[in-house]
């Protein structure tokens, strides 16, 4: 039950950034950001400062995920406080620079919201990625976006797992939001994926503009998939994979995986079954970039998060 007093008053979100090319071969975000750097008309909103930004220009130039190390894992406290010495990996230097521009992470000077644009080879459709189950601003925003995109589905992935959570580029902001749209091969631009991402951003910026103008958003609930576990491929003693994602699991992101369901198919034709006790909802199934991170897919469980009503705080 919500009462009149259960309205959270939140600070206005004045400074927003849109990052493309955090991974240099994920083409939708790179293309959108470059387009908006040339002509920002489409992303302009009243009272908002919006900065489109290419996170990893050297990787974009080479159309590769990263140069020395994954930028989207590089925003750790250790890296951000590392002294400026020669020989630092390119992405660590870049993380420090971006932390100066858009942060510092955790401080009141940090950007209010950052949208980080990604693509995946997995059949995840349009996915919004959250890092906190208690960020009311973000919860209300994804609720708004999901409603606006309907009947097109937007899934919400929540990664609050203490071990599996990672220090993302967007984590510099007070309100970090990951946009992940697939399936799209690395280095390829698919029109439908591009347009989906463009539309999601349009709705996100509309939400922020409305919020800043004083609109009150009533209490809401958001269906999310909460990250549980990383599942690796079966491997041999040399670390080479010995099986592939099973054809029954391939492309079935967000669909229930039950005990006894096929999970992997070995190169010599044997099926490996899922042995977990509970039904899980796999995602990031067969993402190209995760072979080296020892991940065939991630398991999630479904959860409903509740968010209070929110309104811009009066000065």
């Amino acid at each position: 039950m919500s009462s009149r007093t259960n309205i959270s008053c939140l600070q206005e979100a004045k400074r927003v950034a849109i990052f493309g090319g955090t991974h240099g071969n994920e083409m939708s975000g790179i293309t959108l950001v470059n387009m908006w750097i040339q002509n920002s008309a489409e992303i302009e909103r009243n009272g908002l400062v919006i900065k489109p930004f290419i996170s990893n220009p050297r990787a974009v130039e080479k159309c590769t995920r990263y140069i020395d190390t994954d930028l989207n894992r590089a925003f750790t406290p250790e890296n951000l406080s590392a002294p400026d010495v020669e020989g630092l990996p390119y992405e660590v230097q870049r993380a420090k620079e971006m932390n100066r521009m858009f942060g510092p992470k955790g401080s009141s000077d940090a950007y209010d919201a950052i949208f980080d644009l990604h693509n995946t080879t997995s059949n995840m459709g349009s996915t919004l990625i959250l890092e906190s189950s208690t960020d009311l601003f973000n919860l209300q925003m994804v609720h708004y976006i999901k409603k606006a995109m309907a009947p097109h589905t937007c899934s919400v992935l929540l990664n609050e797992h203490p071990q599996l959570k990672y220090s993302t580029t967007r984590s510099v902001a007070k309100h970090p939001i990951g946009l992940e749209v697939g399936p799209q091969p690395q280095g390829v631009l698919r029109s439908n994926v591009f347009e989906s991402m463009r539309t999601i951003l349009k709705h996100a910026l509309d939400f922020i503009e409305l919020f800043n103008s004083g609109v009150e958003f009533p209490p809401c609930t958001v269906d999310v998939f909460r990250v549980q576990e990383r599942m690796d491929y079966p491997r041999d003693t040399n670390g080479n994979i010995t099986a592939m994602v099973h054809p029954h699991l391939q492309d079935c992101d967000w669909e229930p995986l039950n005990r006894g369901d096929p999970m992997f198919l070995t190169f010599d034709g044997r099926t490996v079954l899922y042995e977990g006790a509970n039904t899980v909802y796999p995602t990031f199934i067969n993402e190209a970039a995760y072979y080296e991170k020892q991940q065939a897919f991630m398991t999630t469980c479904r959860e409903i998060l509740a968010a209070n009503a929110i309104r811009k705080a009066c000065k």
Partner: protein, 309 residues
């Protein structure tokens, strides 16, 4: 058409990893390399990981595209330690698989590739007189996998100078750096059927001639680009995306500009698009290729063990 007698196909090469991020061929070659030959095989198969350095890094190539290093000029150019890795490698492969006089010479080479385009299973040959390739194509129609089978008459790449017959087996769609089990299984079955054909041929079976649809490349189409920055300004139109080998008529949508405008195919002749939106071709300035289809008659085909090679 008169039946044609050909010599035995004694030695076959199967190559994977010519591009180090086209994973179905790489994993298939690794599996094949695990199986030790015991000398009873009816056909001698040499299995090769063409670009192992690129495969290790899971990249298309390390310095230059290996699949473009097999021109006569590239194969005869002097190489040193400082030459691009793939230039050195192409000469090594040519020496391993090519020279007629050597005991290692192969009669047929199958180069395994994947594409991000929705091509299904394609055999690529450089000559429409490559009767073996066309016969194998006809034979592959027995496959249980619902892949369309077409042959493109494209520029010869992995083409050591003295191999009698060669083809590339291209299967898509599969993202680079990913192995999809259905694609792997299709490639495995395709290679197996090719081997079955060769064994049956070598044992004296007569293969009836007939007709095969062949797609012959006419031209490549690039993305629309900004005249100053050369950056692409459109994506392949959703109506064309994934429609490899579906006839494209004059006036059909081809590109959807970021501005919202649709660009249409302006050619006068309806042609067959293929390699639509292949990831590796952005840097080569190719959004799609266009082909003409024609029916090619192939003669009946049988082995004559006395036929000189």
């Amino acid at each position: 058409m008169k039946a044609v007698a050909m010599p035995t196909v004694s030695r076959v090469a199967v190559c994977g990893g010519t591009h180090g991020n086209e994973l179905a061929g790489i994993y298939l070659v690794r599996e094949m390399l695990k199986k030790r030959a015991d000398g009873t095989e009816p056909v001698s198969v040499v299995t090769v990981m063409s670009n192992s350095r690129a495969a290790q890094l899971c990249v298309r190539y390390v310095e230059t595209d290996l699949n473009r290093c097999f021109t006569r000029a590239a194969l005869s150019a002097p190489v040193s330690e400082t030459s691009p890795y793939e230039m050195i490698r192409s000469q090594e492969l040519n020496a391993l698989l090519g020279p007629k006089a050597s005991a290692q010479a192969v009669d047929l080479l199958c180069d395994l590739h994947n594409t991000t385009a929705n091509t299904g299973l394609c055999l690529i040959t450089y000559s429409d007189h490559d009767w073996i390739c066309l016969h194998i194509c006809k034979h592959l129609k027995h496959m249980q996998f619902p892949y369309m089978l077409d042959i493109c008459y494209a520029k010869a790449y992995l083409c050591p100078t003295s191999i009698l017959f060669l083809s590339a087996m291209e299967i898509g769609p599969q993202p680079h750096g990913v192995v999809r089990s259905a694609i792997f299984s299709a490639m495995q079955e395709g290679v197996q059927l090719m081997m079955d054909w060769i064994c049956q041929f070598n044992s004296g079976m007569l293969f009836e001639g007939g007709w095969v649809d062949v797609y012959t490349m006419v031209k490549n189409i690039d993305y629309p680009r900004d005249s100053e920055t050369h950056v692409i300004t459109a994506a392949v139109h959703p109506d064309l995306q994934d429609r490899d080998f579906c006839l494209l008529h004059p006036g059909d949508p081809m590109f959807l500009c970021f501005s919202g405008e649709t660009l249409r195919y302006r050619g006068k002749e309806a042609l067959y698009p293929f390699f639509i939106n292949e990831g590796a071709y952005y840097e080569k300035g190719v959004a799609l290729s266009l082909a003409r289809k024609r029916r090619v008659q192939i003669p009946s085909w049988f082995v004559n063990v006395d036929e000189p090679k």
